[in-house]
């Protein structure tokens, strides 16, 4: 088992849910993003989802789109993701990389997996790859100690739920709503049932993301999920302070603390 599964089990034993925080590498700069990830860890994030910016992010809402666009405009490269992964691991958290498929495909999937493991990373979240896509990733992951996290959605059929949960390791990412990443005023209906369906289909652990914004949301999801995934609400902290990283990081700490209290049931 990788550090990811270990950490999630350990957190579960503490009687709480994990806080998983997403930030894209290269926003506002490679160093700035690495530091922001470390600060997020210090403020209570257990697992960092290190985002690899991509030119055509069909799963992402406006906040993450703009952050990715800015990161790419500043010359962020695929290899920068490993710098951020190292920083996260140094800070004492588990790192997984969230990436659309084409950057990994061009880098070379096996080389990507090896470099990620060498940097101390535990796994990948592949939003546009399903287990039956024929990507070849499963063959790469099978010979390495690396987790592959697939997504399930409210529309996922029973047959596909089994396929996806069997093919996933570390955890299964349950998308809390039908839509793109972004903050929402409430958590959509049917999520708890979705988590239950994933567990019934053999998901090792189930974490919930999409639309989670506040400590209250986190507390609500933490009651039934192994982890709570937050992205846009954290990216916004940095985006709201485009020319002032210190102010962005201060906002990031405050939001992270609220969410960290949420996953512990303190709202």
């Amino acid at each position: 088992m990788t550090a990811l599964g270990d950490r999630l089990d350990q957190i579960k034993a503490e009687g709480r849910s994990a806080l998983i925080g997403y930030l894209p590498v290269g926003f506002p700069s490679v160093e700035g993003s690495a530091r922001a990830m470390q600060e997020m860890v210090a403020a209570g994030v257990d697992i960092v989802e290190v985002g690899l910016p991509y030119s055509d992010p069909v799963m992402d809402g406006e906040i993450i789109q703009l952050a990715a666009e800015s990161a790419l405009a500043r010359g962020t490269r695929v290899s920068d993701v490993f710098t951020a992964v190292r920083a996260v691991v140094e800070a004492g958290a588990v790192a997984v990389v969230m990436s659309y498929w084409n950057p990994i495909l061009q880098y070379g999937p096996a080389r990507f997996a090896d470099d990620l493991l060498a940097a101390g990373g535990s796994g990948v979240i592949l939003p546009d790859i399903t287990p039956d896509a024929g990507s070849g990733w499963a063959e790469v992951a099978a010979t390495r100690d690396i987790d592959t996290i697939h997504l399930v959605a409210l529309t996922t059929t029973t047959e596909r739920m089994h396929l996806t949960c069997q093919a996933s390791s570390g955890f299964v990412y349950a998308a809390a709503l039908m839509g793109v990443t972004g903050e929402r005023s409430s958590i959509g209906g049917g999520v708890e049932e979705l988590v239950g369906r994933a567990r019934d289909a053999g998901a090792p652990r189930v974490c919930v993301g999409l639309g989670v914004k506040t400590g209250e949301h986190a507390a609500q999801v933490a009651r039934y999920a192994d982890g709570v995934i937050v992205g846009s609400a954290l990216v916004r902290c940095l985006a709201d302070h485009p020319d002032d990283l210190e102010a962005g990081i201060a906002a990031l700490r405050a939001t992270t603390r609220e969410l960290a209290a949420g996953v512990r049931g303190h709202v």
Binding site: V58, E62, L105, M178
Partner: protein, 402 residues
């Protein structure tokens, strides 16, 4: 006997194609694939589609010989397949009517679509009006500026047009935004994809709906004396080209030539020549040739023609290129515009700038092959939408000296 290349079913064409999209869309794509597989063998669907093609679109479209134009093309005999004469002014209506009928069969009440030049958006807005469907069209902001007339046409037809302001503000960003809408509204909405690219079932399904172009043209050419030496069509995503090629795929002596947009030239960084200059990757749900940097980030394309300004290509074209069954030639903005003017002045036919790329290819091939050759060119659309842009190119706007 060699196996037929016609009507290849997907999801993969050789190593190209597939379905690389989020799980959230898989149920909708499966539902669409299933509905299409049933519809295409259901007479209540095919008869209705044929009726619409005849009574609404105006099919079959005619074939026109263009001898005065051909004098500038080595004296070869050149015939145009006149998709420009279809209702709404391009080949796009062929596909849209099929997918709009499918939408009704699925019981959905809203359609979304992307558009580059606006031809697919206009066709979708038209079908939505005809079939009482709500309609939202995503169009890159830059394209709304260069194709303002088509934006007005879509609005007049009752569609909502959303100008996409992210990324390169062109067709590929419009596709991203349409996928985002679809994920969020998949219960009520069907995505009417405009070209033979994207995830399965779109490449095969759109090809099937456009296949009528080549089926008709092949019969028409046989009636006129025989198969042509070559079939030429412009390629952006590649729907009119694959629709033109499919019925000829097993005619080994017929060359198939797709003309892609070389913009300022393939040795500059401003072109959309995906098959000439691209490499294999995944974009918009399928594996195909794309324009990308070494990190797999999509490179912005450029063409004077908004409809060809796309850094990807349908997967079946990538396959036909790799197996050597089709050729893909780059045609620059200047070559296309020269062909545009030549057709206007020699034949009194104003082509779309997209289709002018195929005309430029025909000039080149005609000069190569000479008077013995017979060429069939798909005129995918008419140039009404391009009048302002062409007039600016040739400095013919009022107050400018022509």
């Amino acid at each position: 006997m060699t196996e037929s290349l016609q009507s290849a079913p997907g999801p993969f064409f050789g190593e190209f194609g597939g379905r690389f999209l989020p799980e959230a869309l898989m149920a909708a794509l499966d539902e669409l694939t299933d509905a299409y597989d049933k519809a295409k063998v259901d007479p209540s669907f095919t008869v209705e589609l044929d009726r619409l093609a005849r009574d609404y679109t105006g099919r079959p479209s005619i074939v026109t010989e263009i001898p005065r134009f051909a004098r500038h093309a080595g004296g070869a005999r050149i015939f145009l397949k006149r998709e420009d004469l279809n209702h709404t002014g391009s080949h796009k209506i062929n596909n849209v009517l099929g997918q709009a009928l499918l939408t009704k069969r699925l019981g959905k009440t809203r359609v979304i679509a992307e558009t580059g030049a606006g031809q697919h958006g206009v066709a979708t807005a038209t079908a939505a009006a005809l079939m009482d469907l709500d309609c939202v069209i995503y169009m890159g902001e830059e394209d709304t500026e260069r194709q303002a007339l088509n934006v007005a046409r879509m609005r007049l037809l009752g569609a909502e047009v959303v100008a996409v302001k992210t990324g390169s503000r062109t067709l590929r960003d419009a596709i991203n935004e349409a996928f985002r809408d679809w994920v969020a509204n998949v219960d009520s909405s069907n995505y009417i994809f405009g070209t033979a690219a994207g995830p399965h079932p779109f490449p095969a399904m759109v090809r099937d709906f456009q296949r009528v172009i080549g089926v008709e043209a092949r019969e028409q050419m046989l009636a006129l004396g025989g198969l042509p030496d070559a079939v030429l069509a412009c390629v952006g995503g590649g729907s009119n080209a694959i629709g033109s090629f499919d019925a000829f795929l097993d005619d080994a002596d017929v060359r198939l030539i797709g003309c892609e947009a070389a913009g300022d030239g393939i040795d500059t960084d401003r072109h959309a020549a995906t098959l000439t200059k691209g490499s294999v990757g995944v974009l918009h749900g399928s594996r195909s040739y794309i324009l990308q940097d070494e990190d797999g980030q999509t490179i912005a394309s450029h063409s004077i023609s908004a409809g060809l300004d796309y850094p990807g290509i349908g997967p079946q074209h990538s396959w036909l290129k790799d197996i050597g069954r089709a050729e893909y030639w780059p045609v620059s903005d200047t070559e296309a515009m020269d062909a545009f003017r030549l057709l206007c002045r020699t034949e009194g036919i104003m082509p779309a700038i997209e289709s002018s790329h195929a005309l430029a290819g025909a000039i080149k091939l005609g000069r190569e092959l000479g008077p013995e050759a017979t060429l069939l060119v798909t005129l995918s659309g008419r140039g009404d939408k391009d009048v302002e842009q062409a007039a600016r190119w040739f400095a013919m706007m009022p107050g400018e000296d022509a």
